[in-house]
Subunit: 253 residues, 2 copies
C-alpha cells in the first residue's frame, strides 16, 4: 500500500484527497496545510497538521499548492526519502530540489466544492528516475484509468492547449452570456447548444464540426453581427476569430 | 392533431422530421425537397415529393432550408392557407411573403446523421398574429419542454450569442487539437477537461468559473505560452483573449 502525504488544501488538493481517501491501493497518511480551518474538515480521514516541520515519512509527497509556492514547499521536504511530486501543468519538475522527484498532473479544471470522479481524468506523470515513474503509475492507476507518461516539454504544450480549450472557451461563454443579458435573455437558452457543441466531439473532430457564418464565408451575416456588437473588444474578437476560421477552411471554399 | 409539411432535407429538417414523426400531437403529412435520393429514406414515414407544385394542404409549413433559399421556397407557398414558418436564427420573419407567417427556431447545432432528443432544445417562436403564435406553441410543446416567444430582434442577438458559444469555442477546440498534434499528443487527453468546462456551467456562471493565467494576471505564464505558439494568428488570438479576460476582472485584481 502506497502511503501518501498531501501538501495543500486548494481545489486540486481537495479533489486528490477525496480520490485517494477512497482508493484501495493508497493510504492517505497526512494532510499538511497552512490554514487550520481548511484542514479541520479532514479530521478523521487522515492526520492533519499546519506545521511544516511535522511532516510524516511517506512513499509519496504530493505538493498541490499554487505554482508560485511549489518551490518553497518542496524545500520543506529536502530531508525526506520518499518521492516528491507537484501537480502543476505549467511548472518544471526541476522546481523541486529533492533527488527523487516527479510530476503528477491531473489534466482537469478543479473548482471549489466540486468533487470530480477521477476515473476518466488523464493523469500525466513524469519522474527523475524509473523507480519514481513506477510509483507514480501505481498511484495514478489507483484512482484513474488513464495514466500517461508525459515529458516536461509535452506537459507545457498540453497546458497551453488546455488554456485554449478551457480558459478561452469559458470566456467566450461569458461574452455569450453578456450578449444575452443585454437583450434580457436568459443564458439558460444557450446551455443545450453548449453541451451539444462538446458532446459532438465524441464522434467528430472540431475541424469537421465547425459551422456558422465564418465557416460558410457568409459575409453579410458577419457584417450584421459586427453591427449588433456594441463593445469594441468583442468586435475585435469576432473579427479575429472569424478570420481564423475562414483561413482554416479557405482551401475548401 | 396538427398537420405539418416540412420543406428541406438538411440537418435541421432531418432532426425535425424525426422529432415530429414521433410526436403524438403532430401529424407529419409530407416532406418536400429538391433531392429525390434524400427524400427516399422517408418513404413510409410521410408523403414525399420533389415537385414544389405538389405541396399538400396543411396547418403548418416548416421551411428548413439554407438561409439564402428561404425566400424562394416561401414563394411556392403563397397560395396556401396554413401558417408558413422558417427555422433560421439569422433570418427575418419578413423574408416570408405569406400573411400567416412565423419563425420556429430550434436553438441547437445540428449535424448530419446525428439525431438529437428535442425534449431539452429551446424552441424560439414568433408569428405575425396570435393565432399563429398559438399554433407554434402547440407544435413546439409537442416535441420540446422549452418553447419561448422570442422577437426578431432578440433572435438575432441570440444567434450572435450562439456564434460565440458554439462556432468560436469550437474553433478554439480546433486550435487546441493542433497544439496537441504538433507535440504528438492525442486530443483525447483534453476531452474530459472540455466536458467539465461545460458541465461546471450548471452550477457556476462563466464569469465565476473563469480560471487560468489571464484570470490570475500571471504575466510570466502568458509570455511563456506566447513563445510556445509558432503560429502568428494563434499568438494574436492568445493575446486578445487574455487581454479581454484581464479587462473583465481588472477591478478584482
Amino acid at each position: 500500500m502506497l502511503s501518501v502525504v498531501i501538501l495543500g488544501t486548494g481545489n486540486v488538493a481537495e479533489n486528490l484527497i477525496h480520490a485517494l481517501y477512497h482508493s484501495k491501493q493508497a493510504h492517505l497518511l497526512q494532510i499538511v496545510g497552512r490554514k487550520q480551518h481548511a484542514l479541520n474538515k479532514y479530521t478523521g480521514k487522515a492526520k492533519i497538521t499546519s506545521n511544516f516541520e511535522n511532516i510524516e515519512d511517506a512513499d509519496i509527497y504530493i505538493i498541490a499548492v499554487s505554482d508560485s509556492a511549489i518551490q518553497m514547499v518542496a524545500e520543506k521536504l529536502l530531508g525526506k526519502q520518499g518521492l516528491v511530486v507537484h501537480t502543476s501543468g505549467a511548472t518544471s519538475m526541476h522546481s523541486i530540489s529533492s533527488v527523487n522527484k516527479g510530476v503528477f498532473y491531473p489534466l482537469q479544471t478543479f473548482t471549489k466544492e466540486r468533487i470530480l470522479d477521477f476515473t476518466n481524468i488523464p493523469i500525466c506523470v513524469e519522474a527523475s528516475n524509473n523507480q519514481g515513474l513506477e510509483l507514480l503509475h501505481k498511484l495514478g492507476t489507483s484512482i484513474s484509468s488513464q495514466v500517461h507518461e508525459i515529458s516536461s516539454e509535452q506537459r507545457e504544450k498540453l497546458h497551453l492547449a488546455a488554456v485554449f480549450a478551457n480558459n478561452f472557451s469559458n470566456h467566450l461563454f461569458h461574452i455569450s452570456e453578456m450578449v444575452c443579458a443585454k437583450e434580457g435573455l436568459s443564458f439558460e437558452l444557450l446551455k443545450p447548444l453548449i453541451l451539444e457543441t462538446v458532446q459532438k466531439l465524441e464522434s467528430l473532430s472540431p475541424y469537421k464540426a465547425q459551422t456558422g457564418p465564418a465557416r460558410r464565408k457568409d459575409i453579410p451575416s458577419m457584417e450584421k453581427h459586427l453591427e449588433l456588437l456594441p463593445d469594441e473588444e468583442h468586435k475585435k474578437l469576432y473579427t479575429l476569430l472569424s478570420e481564423a476560421i475562414m483561413k482554416t477552411y479557405e482551401k475548401e471554399l
